[in-house]
């Protein structure tokens, strides 16, 4: 799990390179046994299968985006007491982060989907169960990212805003958060990529996202190698596009105020 953003970024890049190499070996080394017609865009059946698999993309994206937005909000709300002078507020931050970080995501998904409705006497559909589990699990990391980002703001900035007579909320809203947000954008981007990948786990409760669709394809056609290779490519393209988007946003935000 990415704790330090720089490290995570470097390993993510290396990981992508490794993936490409592995794929090329896979595709060239055992050509004789491959049955690409299953997912070939040249044939009617192949196209239908591809479209079926791609149909999961919508949910993977929707799930991840909804979850990241919620987890960023929770993360920020948990980070703020972590920066307080009040020891109880700081204690709340630590307890939340430590507990949430300790629960495996898959376990959290199962608990939210099967356990939470019993506890609260409600019904919850797979989409929202997935969103809640992903968002909760990620929020602990977001909280740590925000805490570090806010702490990295120069003390002089706080003193200047204090000396202008700004209150806590104005200081956060106009001085601290806009600057902190720029700094945490790279690690937030990492979390988004991480979220896109982790959303595959929501397939276990039946969410029809990319991985679930691939599993169903495998059950129907019994061509796991071809199907899962396509699945990998789907994630690869999705994540490369998202990463490029995050980097574009970073550049746009940092262009104005080079220190």
């Amino acid at each position: 799990m990415p704790d330090s953003s720089l490290l995570a970024r470097a390993t993510a890049n290396r990981y992508r390179l490794g993936l490409l190499l592995t794929l090329s070996v896979l595709l060239s080394g055992c050509a004789g046994q491959l049955q690409w017609y299953v997912v070939s865009p040249m044939t009617e059946a192949g196209r239908a299968n591809l479209l079926f698999m791609l149909g999961g993309l919508k949910y993977t994206i929707l799930l991840s985006m909804t979850a990241i937005i919620i987890s960023v909000i929770i993360g920020l709300l948990v980070a703020l007491p972590g920066l307080s002078r009040n020891p109880f507020a700081r204690g709340f931050n630590r307890v939340y982060v430590e507990i949430v970080r300790a629960v495996p995501l898959l376990v959290l998904i199962l608990w939210v989907y099967y356990g939470l409705p019993i506890m609260l006497g409600i019904t919850i559909n797979v989409f929202w169960a997935g969103v809640v589990a992903l968002a909760l699990s990620d929020s602990a990391f977001e909280a740590e990212i925000f805490r570090a980002g806010i702490q990295s703001i120069d003390r002089g900035q706080l003193e200047a805003s204090d000396s202008l007579g700004l209150g806590y909320i104005d200081r956060m809203r106009y001085i601290v958060l806009p600057q902190a947000l720029r700094r945490v954008l790279p690690p937030l981007g990492n979390q988004l990529v991480y979220m896109l990948k982790m959303s595959s786990l929501v397939s276990v409760i039946g969410m029809e996202e990319l991985t679930r669709r691939a599993n169903e394809m495998v059950t129907a056609e019994y061509r796991p190698l071809e199907t899962y290779t396509v699945l990998i490519l789907e994630y690869l393209v999705l994540i490369l596009v998202v990463s490029a988007g995050v980097r574009w946003l970073e550049r746009r935000l940092s262009r104005r105020d080079v220190r």
Binding site: E159, L164, G165, G167, R256
Partner: protein, 246 residues
């Protein structure tokens, strides 16, 4: 002269076990220009930062405009809108344009309309002689320009008191005078000023009162003519010797 706007009574301040201020008492009256000097680490910054409570004192009292600070948070915020502060490191907001740097305080803390705040900002940019830089970002300005923006930012609050903590110490030598000129003009308008600086030329020109500090204490407080010609204390004499040598 009139009644004191700043009263500091028997002020003490500790950083952990280290005592940075050891019972400092001082009064600043309206319109007074006080220059504080002394060797590095003598507590000048600590003293001036206690006036707007960027540092909380551990003993004694700070009274500004008759209100004792450190009791109520709301009163402190209110008091801070009347006390301008200029820092050694400028501390401009790097993500905001010059104009936004200047209008933020008036709009959020003084609740002025954007229109009023902007005309105020343009007025004070004129005063510090950089009206053409309103739409730039701090990083696009020179150090001297940045410090003048910082002065204008404080002035936009229309404060009764201006505090300066070594405003020219972070500047390249050729930019020092452009900032001092602005401060001299400000002094001419009758602003109450407390200035920590080693610029003795400036002190001679504008100071009504010289304060010499050492080891957390005020060693000497006198008018500049006397301080520069015949300092009372041996430590003051040594300090002047060192600082006027170059």
């Amino acid at each position: 002269m009139s009644s004191p706007v700043i009263q500091i009574k028997n002020l003490s301040k500790y950083y952990g076990g280290f005592q940075a201020l050891s019972g400092v008492s001082l009064e600043v009256v309206s319109g007074e220009r006080m220059v504080i000097c002394g060797p590095s680490g003598s507590g000048k910054s600590t003293l001036i930062r206690c006036v707007n409570q960027l540092e909380r004192h551990d003993g004694g009292q700070v009274i500004v405009n008759g209100i004792e600070l450190g009791k109520s948070r709301k009163a402190l915020r209110e008091a801070r809108t009347h006390i301008g502060m200029v820092f050694q490191q400028f501390n401009l907001f790097p993500h905001l344009s010059v104009l936004e740097n200047l209008t933020l305080g008036p709009m959020r803390a003084r609740k002025l309309s954007r229109q009023k705040a902007e005309s105020l900002a343009r007025h004070y940019l004129e005063r510090v002689r950089i009206p053409e830089q309103a739409d730039k970002y701090p990083a696009q300005l020179s150090g001297g320009q940045q410090q003048r923006v910082a002065i204008a930012r404080s002035l936009c609050m229309e404060p009764a008191i201006m505090l300066f903590d070594e405003p020219t110490s972070a500047l390249d030598p050729e930019m020092i005078s452009e900032v001092l000129d602005v401060m001299i003009e400000l002094a001419d308008t009758g602003m109450t000023m407390m200035v920590v600086t080693h610029e003795m030329g400036f002190a001679r020109k504008v100071a009504d009162t010289m304060v010499f500090m050492d080891k957390g204490l005020i060693v000497e407080k006198s008018d500049p003519a006397k301080f520069f010609s015949s300092p009372e204390s041996e430590r003051g004499r040594l300090f002047l010797q060192q600082i006027l040598q170059h």
